[in-house]
């Protein structure tokens, strides 16, 4: 029997309506029906608030399919289906993004065929959009004739299946999320038919700050915003180191210096890069430049400008160190790095992809990224090499989201995270943090390892922190008079050589450890 106003032209028996009915059935029964009846009622899974809305989108696309079966593929229905599918893909991507970077097998709630449910949501919405495109290709002008279609058996079955599945969801939604104004939860508890176990929450309605990227909206380091007054240090007034020289670098660099390292004449020539001209050499970096100078920092011996945008995005170089095997490393603020090796016979043509200038001065050994755990979502502005442990160290700088000083160690052999810690104050150091202050307020812009200690220079409060690498404790801290925005530190003999972003070189007498003599063969 035909419904009031129904039409029954033969064109409405076209396969396109059969396919729409099948699509509604598949979308309703497989993802949504499985989720509510099997995962929910049988296995006790409750969707989180995001899963609920992704499920809702699938139900709404199915409902649009029912509209098409009843009234034909009117443009407004197709438009709604496309809009819902687009929003659904966004929801799926947003949800997958919360868990995509976790380790293998980790995720939120249950898996279906090896993938967590939110992953399937993105795929299902993509299939919906794909299927709608195919159905549109099959649609002919005659299908758009207005009127109410008489439903065939398969189409009526699609309606019934849809309503049964939605009714199941109504039951689950009432038990899991409750009546308005209660809504879905971020961490829903296990589903139960027993009202004693129902938990209705309005937590999601509580006002909190709106943001586009949330905790990922981390500002890049900006030394211009760093407090420099030593008197306001979290550690209070610190003893001052003696400045023995201060002068402009006077080198033709392509930008502001971002780090400094020194390689002395090695005690064992086989263990480290032989020094040029029988003396030591300095390594200077700029945002993209790598410079090797003589031991007095007065003459550039070789340099190159790295194409930091090629392949791995190196960002802006912020740390540099001499490694073993005659190699050196330049590390970007984003913890991406490039390992270079000086080579007088480098092939300029084959190096075209790596360097913008002086392609015949260096070879690129490797380019990759440091992965961190505690230091994740924090930029770094320093790098140091410890010959004793054959490791590269980096230290984090605070940002607008988090203020943590995290030290990360990467084994030189695979440049993979091997140790990570948050330093604390040594009890016998005579240091104390002011009330509500933390070591995370220091902005470490340069680091060097010598005699088992890591010396970190901070642009904030013009300070130098001394970190014992064995105990992970700060054993001493100093201030350097007149130091403004340092960006790199190196040890040469009994002195610190510190460069600032204005191109000033400051030489400071280095505090000597009580039990060790300075080593001129120090690498960093």
């Amino acid at each position: 029997m035909m419904a009031p106003g129904a039409t029954d032209s033969s064109v409405k028996r076209e396969p396109v309506f059969t396919l729409v009915a099948l699509a509604v059935l598949v979308l309703t029964v497989i993802p949504v029906g499985t989720a509510v009846f099997w995962l929910g009622f049988v296995r006790g899974d409750s969707p989180c608030v995001m899963c609920w809305e992704q499920r809702m989108g699938m139900i709404l696309i199915s409902l649009v399919g029912l509209f098409v079966l009843r009234f034909g593929p009117k443009p407004k229905y197709v438009g709604m289906a496309v809009l819902i599918a687009c929003w659904g893909m966004f929801m799926g991507l947003r949800h997958v993004g919360m868990h995509a970077a976790r380790d293998v097998g980790q995720g939120f709630s249950l898996e279906i065929m090896g993938a967590h449910t939110y992953t399937w949501a993105f795929f299902i919405y993509w299939v919906c959009a794909f299927a709608m495109g195919l159905l549109l290709l099959m649609t002919r002008p005659a299908h758009l004739a207005s009127g109410v279609r008489t439903l065939r058996r398969l189409e009526r079955f699609a309606f019934v299946a849809f309503m049964v599945v939605v009714a199941g969801n109504v039951v689950q939604a009432f038990a899991s999320t409750g009546p308005p104004p209660f809504m879905g939860q971020s961490d829903p508890i296990r589903f139960s038919f027993n009202p004693a176990h129902w938990h209705w929450s309005a937590e999601e309605w509580k006002p909190s700050k709106w943001a586009l990227r949330g905790r990922w909206a981390v500002d890049k380091p900006d030394l211009a915003q760093v407090p420099t007054d030593p008197a306001k240090s979290p550690l209070g007034a610190l003893p001052a180191l003696t400045v023995t020289a201060r002068r402009p670098l006077g080198l033709a660099l392509d930008g502001a210096p971002t780090d400094l390292a020194y390689l002395a004449l090695p005690a064992d020539p086989a263990a480290a890069q032989p020094a040029v001209d029988g003396t030591g050499q300095f390594l200077l970096t700029t945002a993209a430049g790598v410079y090797l100078t003589d031991a007095s920092l007065s003459k550039i011996r070789r340099h190159t400008i790295v194409d930091v945008g090629y392949s791995v995005d190196l960002g802006r170089f912020a740390g540099a160190a001499f490694l073993d095997n005659g190699e050196l490393i330049a590390v970007g603020e984003n913890k991406s790095y490039v390992v270079l090796k000086p080579n007088d016979k480098a092939n300029a043509d084959s190096n075209f992809q790596y360097f913008l200038e002086s392609r015949d001065q260096f070879d690129e050994v490797s380019r990759s990224r440091f992965g961190t755990v505690r230091a994740r979502l924090l930029y770094i502005m320093s790098a140091a090499y410890d010959r004793a442990s054959n490791s590269v160290y980096t230290l984090t700088v605070p940002n607008n989201v988090a203020k943590r000083l995290v030290v990360s160690r990467f084994d030189r052999r695979d440049l993979t995270l091997s140790e990570e810690f948050v330093p604390t104050l040594a009890k016998d150091a005579g240091l104390a943090l002011a009330k509500d202050r933390s070591l995370g307020e220091f902005v470490v812009t340069g680091a060097v390892v010598a005699d088992g200690q890591l010396f970190a220079v901070s642009a904030a409060y013009s300070a130098v922190l001394v970190l014992d690498l064995a105990t992970h404790r700060i054993t001493a801290a100093y201030t350097i008079p007149g130091l403004v925005r340092p960006t790199g530190i190196a040890v040469k003999n009994d002195s610190f050589y510190i460069v600032g972003d204005d191109g000033t070189l400051t030489v400071v007498r280095r505090p000597m450890p009580a039990t060790a003599a300075p080593r001129d063969s120090t690498l960093r």
Partner: protein, 55 residues
């Protein structure tokens, strides 16, 4: 709120099936349900609207 939205959807499907002359009402309910879905997802993710990954 999800409960309310599903009830709206169920009623909308019922109208399409049994009272097709109420097409406009059913379609408006579809739009309301869609907007409610968008609202609830946005409320749930407003502290980080974009996917929380490295951009």
């Amino acid at each position: 709120m999800e409960f309310l939205n599903l009830v709206l959807i169920l009623v909308g499907a019922f109208l399409v099936l049994k009272k097709p002359e109420q097409e406009r009402v059913a379609f408006r309910m579809l739009i309301v349900s869609t907007l409610l879905m968008v609202l609830l997802f946005t409320v749930a993710t407003h502290t980080g609207l974009l996917p929380g990954v490295n951009f």
